[in-house]
Symmetry: C2
Subunit: 566 residues, 2 copies
């Protein structure tokens, strides 16, 4: 019978999961979990939905599905785990295998020896060194007390205008929460797009949608100063371009940093990004110490390089791995991540797995193909919204590098399937005939994800040439004049059109309208329609008739993220 002592630092996600799994594997170990905060095992990914009023009972963030609060009493009674809250581990002595715990209520330090130690210290939100950052009314949405602060603001209904600094996942979720709370919100993003896990054209479409709901979005700009009044209360911000915006609340969500100070001071190996280094067993460079969650780096399964991926699901999975390895020796591996992410954006969702085009290029892939695909997620007669997706493929081995989707509705199926496909190292050819669940309430006969693989096969194998909306816009802005054909019918054209100089020639009339097309067969011609399927058919007809430089606008009008004439 084992009677070793396992000490776990951190009681949010990875910590409690590690403790629970270790207990299941070993009924006799002494398991002590230390938590600096008052609350334990908080569903922190749920904070935005609590702030936004999707639910009102704060305890739901802290309780089991049957309503029992996961407090120290719960942990000891049902799991035989000692959970010491409001207790901070201030020092690890890895030689002596001892930690020093400070009781934050009494300020008293106590020494605990350990057989195995697990560091789950999480992350802290990055607080940029901007003048005025100490003003009242500036928050993050990382901790339970941040959530309490913002929920109080919601309930008091006093604040009318807020600024979100940072347009990533948390920034967007916070924006939705505040808008739902009746607070007019603006997002300030340093990059030229929100949601950096998406490529530009998809992010831009989400941006358009959010703007249509009244959210102000300012990209390629940052905050240079927080403006405050004599009471140190926030009254506005000054942007880097000098413009001022008044607001009573600012939420900073420009990313988090691994909370690795304790591990570093203990002499454990730290990575370049400042995270705790662990191997596939989630073991640090000290064999008695493991680490998981937002304080570690893990391997990217595609690039093979280490990446920082602070996500709640990964923390839980890693905690389970450690729980087993603590007891059984290093048996389970956590092989790595795809940096899969998903975000609800009001009625939309946006998600990605693997590499975007931008990321793939940055990672050194120089023989890639991509396709933007727009199409209804199920047959029109069932009522269907349009998915816009982008697939990134390595042409060397035809494997998928990444997939990203946006949709009014739930995009998690497509992202989940793509994540599984990447995990299984599937090629576009494997996926192109995959046997997926089809019935009209759920998908098209050919699932959107499969269609993406079909189009990219057409590009790689059959000479289909595509141009992205971003590229076309750039060239039009440069006063280039490719010959543009919209292949839809006149009724459709009347209802909606790009108005970028295109000529309307319905597909069925194309062959009798060849005189309307430049007769120089080397003229660049770009075909499109609503989703560019008719555009595709037209491009094949024209190529067959001798035009040599024909391409389609990928995603057609539905994938176009810029202003339309109509």
């Amino acid at each position: 019978m084992s009677s070793k002592r396992i000490i776990i630092i951190g009681g949010s996600a990875a910590g409690p999961k590690t403790a629970s799994k270790a207990r299941r594997m070993d009924q006799n170990a002494e398991i002590i979990l230390f938590q600096k905060e008052k609350d334990l095992s908080m569903a922190s990914c749920g904070f935005p939905y609590y702030v936004g009023g999707v639910f009102d009972d704060r305890n739901q963030l802290l309780c089991t599905p049957t309503g029992v609060t996961r407090d120290p009493d719960f942990f000891v009674t049902t799991k035989n785990i000692i959970a010491k809250t409001e207790t901070e581990i201030i020092k690890i002595d890895k030689t002596a295998k001892i930690v020093i715990a400070k009781d934050l209520k009494t300020d008293k330090d106590t020494e605990y020896s350990y057989d195995k130690l697990v560091i789950c210290t999480g992350a802290t939100s990055f607080k940029p060194p901007i003048p005025g950052i100490d003003a009242k009314g500036i928050s993050a949405l990382k901790t339970m007390s941040d959530a309490d602060f913002l929920r109080k603001i919601r309930d008091e209904k006093k604040i009318k205008k807020a600024i979100i600094i940072g347009g990533g996942l948390i920034g967007i979720e916070t924006c939705e929460a505040l808008q739902l709370a009746g607070i007019k919100t603006a997002i300030i993003e340093l990059q030229d797009q929100i949601l950096p896990f998406l490529d530009y054209e998809l992010a831009k479409k989400v941006e358009n949608y959010m703007k249509s709901l009244g959210v102000e979005i300012i990209t390629s700009n940052g905050v240079s100063e927080f403006i405050k009044n004599e009471n140190n209360e926030l009254t506005g911000i000054k942007l880097q371009d000098g413009k001022e915006i008044s607001c009573e609340l600012a939420v900073v969500s420009i990313g988090v940093r691994p909370a690795s100070k304790l591990a570093k001071e203990a002499g454990l190996k730290i990575t370049e990004t400042g995270a705790v280094w662990v191997d596939e067993y989630m073991q640090t460079d000290d064999p008695h110490i493991y680490s998981a969650g937002d304080c570690v780096e893990t391997k990217h399964l595609i690039t093979g390089k280490n990446v920082y991926s602070p996500m709640g699901d990964l923390a839980n999975l890693q905690g389970r791995v450690i729980g087993e390895n603590l007891v059984k020796g290093n048996k389970r591996k956590f092989k790595g991540v795809l940096q899969t992410g998903i975000c609800k954006v009001f009625e939309y969702s946006a998600g990605a797995t693997g590499l975007s085009k931008k990321q793939a290029i940055k990672a050194g892939y120089n023989n890639i193909e991509t396709v933007v695909n727009a199409g209804p997620y199920r047959p029109g007669f069932m009522g269907a919204t349009v998915i816009v997706s982008k697939l990134v493929v390595n042409k060397d081995d035809r494997r998928i590098l990444g997939y990203q989707c946006i949709c009014e509705g739930d995009i998690s199926k497509q992202i989940g399937m793509a994540a599984m496909a990447i995990t299984g190292k599937l090629t576009i050819d494997d996926i192109s005939n995959a046997d997926l669940p089809y019935a009209p309430p759920f998908s098209l006969a050919i699932e959107h994800f499969i269609v993406s693989c079909h189009i990219i096969q057409n590009k790689i194998d059959d000479g289909l040439k595509g141009i992205t909306s971003v590229e076309l816009k750039k060239r039009l802005d440069n006063n280039e004049k490719p010959f543009l054909i919209d292949l839809r019918g006149p009724d459709e054209y009347e209802m909606m059109r790009l108005g970028i100089g295109e000529k309307l020639i319905p597909l069925g009339k194309l062959k009798n309208s060849l005189d309307q097309i430049p007769q120089d067969k080397n003229t660049e011609i770009i075909c499109f329609c609503k989703i560019s399927l008719r555009g595709y058919e037209a491009s094949l007809i024209l190529k067959n008739l001798g035009w040599t430089n024909v391409s389609i606008l990928e995603g057609g009008i539905m994938g176009w993220p810029f202003d339309r004439e109509k």
Copy 2:
């Protein structure tokens, strides 16, 4: 430049897809498509939703997303494909490479030579040789005219009671359609369960749900006679057990058979099940003839054996493969199927991919492990329904053989991910740490599918013993008396309980209640709770204390498909 003639027999799904893809690959081939019926390219999987009134415009079953009817004019104008409707191919002469087409309007026969021939003759619904089957009021839901017939019945609102014969996918979809049309419906199923792609315990839960909506479901019984009046109108049915049920409408949906008569008469190789034999290129044993859709058999990707899988999505995928191979030579393969299926059942959905336990055993797998898993699909604070799933794993290589799920809501994500996982030959260990899209609106931090893999790891690697509801019920019915413990709290017990002789011992009180448990350490003990997670914790505690025969009721109360006391 090619100028070959491609003839395609069949204009529903595989045929038009083949024609369209062949055209895209070759602008110059002559492509002629023959269709016996009047309509072309019907969305036949949408028939139940048209019958049920989910939409009212019949043309939506026949038109492109932009509303253009896919009639012969559409095919010739936009695709340069000649589509001859109401024309039946009555003979194939594969030596002469000729087909004979009968114009059903004029009864005139015409000969057409071909370079390549594609047989997409589909399937016909099986009409059982039961007395009275010729009565008025007996239909199937396979053809457009079946759909028209049933939709008319809906609109006339005269018929009050219908019988569905066969509880498979189409039977269930038809049942929903008729109930939505205000017709009281009963399903008669020969087997002991509906939805044969599910194992019994999941099918039974769907059955319970349907019964709760007023559907009558009679299993392990068949129709021995259709009763009719002097006008040859259906007035009722007689069951095999002698019972009579009056009804004015019967829909027969006991499966379809490949329509391979033409191919057989031409001397093409036919499989044991009567389907057209094709290889991975969808080529028959005649190199000039291909075949796809509901008339062919394909390889099962897990068992390697040929199976008959008449599904609309597969027909489309196979048609695309043929379209390419016709033009480029045999380049694309259709490697096979997983017999993935999904079905909307009112507000529920039920789906499966790969093998059920029943099918795995039948296929000869003798070292399998399964687990029934019940749990909310996302955090309770977001509002969550419960998924009940069953995972089947081959213990020899730890690969997934099959996954089946039911849920109030949409189960297609879990089935789609599992289908991808099986396609990628992933093991439970690969999936157990998969990086899937997580945010509270979309899933639990540990996705349901991953949880299933975790539980089965616990079973295979760590000695967790499970018993299924079906097995426990059988043993209780045999008057066996395992000691049953419900580990929930008294409040929960008051609201809902099995009442099968269980003792209530809340998990937190277990260690102080050991005197309530049989002291003979070899007594069989079965632990459970709402989903058997607390049951699992209890089983570990008891095993650690020396009880040797402890298991959990898989899926707990949520997975229990039989009557409950409360």
